[in-house]
Assembly symmetry: C3
Homo-oligomer: 259 residues x 3
């Protein structure tokens, strides 16, 4: 039998020990699980950032992996804690939009409101559901405890409004939705939207002639566009920090023109 | 039987591979242990920071977990290396105050001076006891090797002097002892000290009317006070960086007035 | 039997989830392996940095450990992907010099060009061989799949040109090749090169009288020189950031004079 795996994705950083506390809670319940750090460097309170990371990782993990995601500015309010079953994986976290992209890519899913206190630590602290609710829920689920007993069905999860692309006379227009660690600009334009022959891609003052396949197709310091490993159009500079070089951030407009 | 768990808490960062070397040493001795990163982002040489993190995590881990903690500005001097058994857990690191808060919360503990070279790598490097002494000691202890054979009893461990609260005519006065990753100001005032009905909490130019339970009880950008998940009074700004907003750091005075 | 271990060393950071995706790929193939983060904070595109870290860690891990290293500015070009067997360990990554120091310290090694698509994910993305090539290769090798079947022998791996020391009339001259997390200046002068009695060590405006064994042999804020835990001459300031204090970086000259 495969051992159970639990991944962790948070905006907690590691330096305060918050994540360490969550790991202790999980291992006290299931000492044999494999604990996988995805990242604790999600930008503080950045729900879309976390949603993108979750979407990116989940298809690669073995069936049955439990993913704990905690970016939780509303902790303590009446925002729900939820567990989600989708695509053969399980997700646990606050119902604040974190699972938007997972939900958007699955036909079938089931979500439960976490209400059953048997799955939580006693007296959950109102500012740290990551430790007192989500970590123990994940650990219990990884041991095979019933998903259905968590609580009521949730049929109306919170979903983020993701910026949509616009069709223009000469092509499509999207925007930068994420900047990665290297400064590359990821747009909201999926590969499957690039149905025409590309004449040019314009972002800020830069105009790019077409798609490259990888960074080093252009000289160091030169801009390029490619389909990134998430499947989205990305603007990059070979070996450079695109965001800094162009002074562009999230929300910057990107226009693709057909020839 | 539960597998053995070893946690790591250091100020080494990860980028130089120092922590990687420690992990190799541990796994070469006990390849089956579970290795848990707590953090490697303790502020350089910040012993109190590390002591707080250790105190925070240890109660959540399964009995028998071995915690390696290395913030060690005196490495190579005659400061002792020690192992500590307290509260069903084991701690390994330099005797420089790192275990102050663990010792302060346990009635019974036993500490040993690490003297037995059977538990160390040959010829420990004078600047890296983390790798050559503490890592192998932890690995051997995780395999069940004798704690008592490490070396002599230590009955006078180094303890940090933690700032104490003062009782004033109208309440109590404490200070900020730690700033977390979000900029929240953690004070040295434990929840059990808040015995009166609170009229106001003053820190820098901010005056707060009483305790909140969680951040989102006040509008974004507004200050609040709450009992944090460590059990201490904390000053925060909902979704904001309190330390930056108020220009306050460690040592800032915090006054609680009873009504 | 020992469980198989796979280490990860990259310049990806963690916040984009790239490393999380690699972990998923590995665990989907070998769910029982132990996954060890060495670091994901290698400076972007800094091949020598990664080479130093790999050299530093590898001797400490159990025989048979598989080390995945990805700093890969040439991803997608015709630079080869390779697997290397040396010193009882296995290394997987791009053939761009990452393994220079491992190769330099082993008499016997064998390297293979990764050509066999059975070891890769289908349709590897041209910008992310870390996930689609190196991660699955490592996972398959950790399961005992044939090393020899990966592809053709590589007998001419790319090696970095490491700055060499010069012998002068009065001693030797080297340079700073790495600055660690604490700001310490690591030079290219190996301990075994220090064959004479040292009169002075000069770096920038600082002159140091001889070797210390550890940092705290000099007062806080004072410079010293020692043999670091990698076995190289290092210039440090006790409890200080040497690089910042002296305004010195990589390439700074270091002169050792014999008495």
């Amino acid at each position: 039998m495969n051992r159970s795996l639990i991944t962790l994705t948070t905006d907690f950083g590691t330096r305060d020990g918050f994540v360490g506390q969550m790991k202790g809670v999980i291992l006290a319940i299931n000492p044999h699980c494999g604990l996988i750090d995805v990242t604790h460097d999600i930008e503080s309170y950045a729900i879309l950032h976390c949603a993108l990371v979750l979407k990116g990782i989940s298809r690669y993990f073995p069936l049955g992996t439990v993913h704990v995601a905690v970016v939780d500015p509303g902790v303590g309010t009446n925002r729900r804690g939820v567990a989600l079953r989708a695509g053969g994986q399980v997700y646990v976290g606050p119902d604040n939009g974190l699972f938007t992209l997972v939900l958007g890519s699955e036909v079938e899913w089931q979500m439960r409101h976490i209400e059953n206190s048997d799955y939580m630590l006693p007296d959950p602290h109102p500012t740290f559901h990551g430790r007192d609710v989500f970590a123990p829920v994940a650990a219990h689920l990884s041991l095979g405890k019933s998903f259905e007993s968590l609580g009521a069905h949730v049929i109306d999860p919170v979903v983020l409004s993701i910026p949509q692309i616009r069709h223009t006379q000469r092509g499509i227009e999207g925007e930068v939705i994420y900047i990665d660690r290297f400064g590359n600009l990821m747009t909201n334009i999926e590969a499957r939207r690039l149905t025409g022959k590309i004449d040019s891609i314009t972002v800020g003052n830069a105009q790019i002639g077409g798609l490259s396949r990888f960074f080093a197709e252009v000289p160091a310091g030169e801009p390029l566009a490619l389909i990134n490993s998430f499947g989205y159009l990305e603007i990059a500079v070979n070996r450079g920090d695109t965001s800094a070089q162009f002074g562009l951030g999230r929300g910057a407009s990107v226009e693709v023109r057909w020839s």
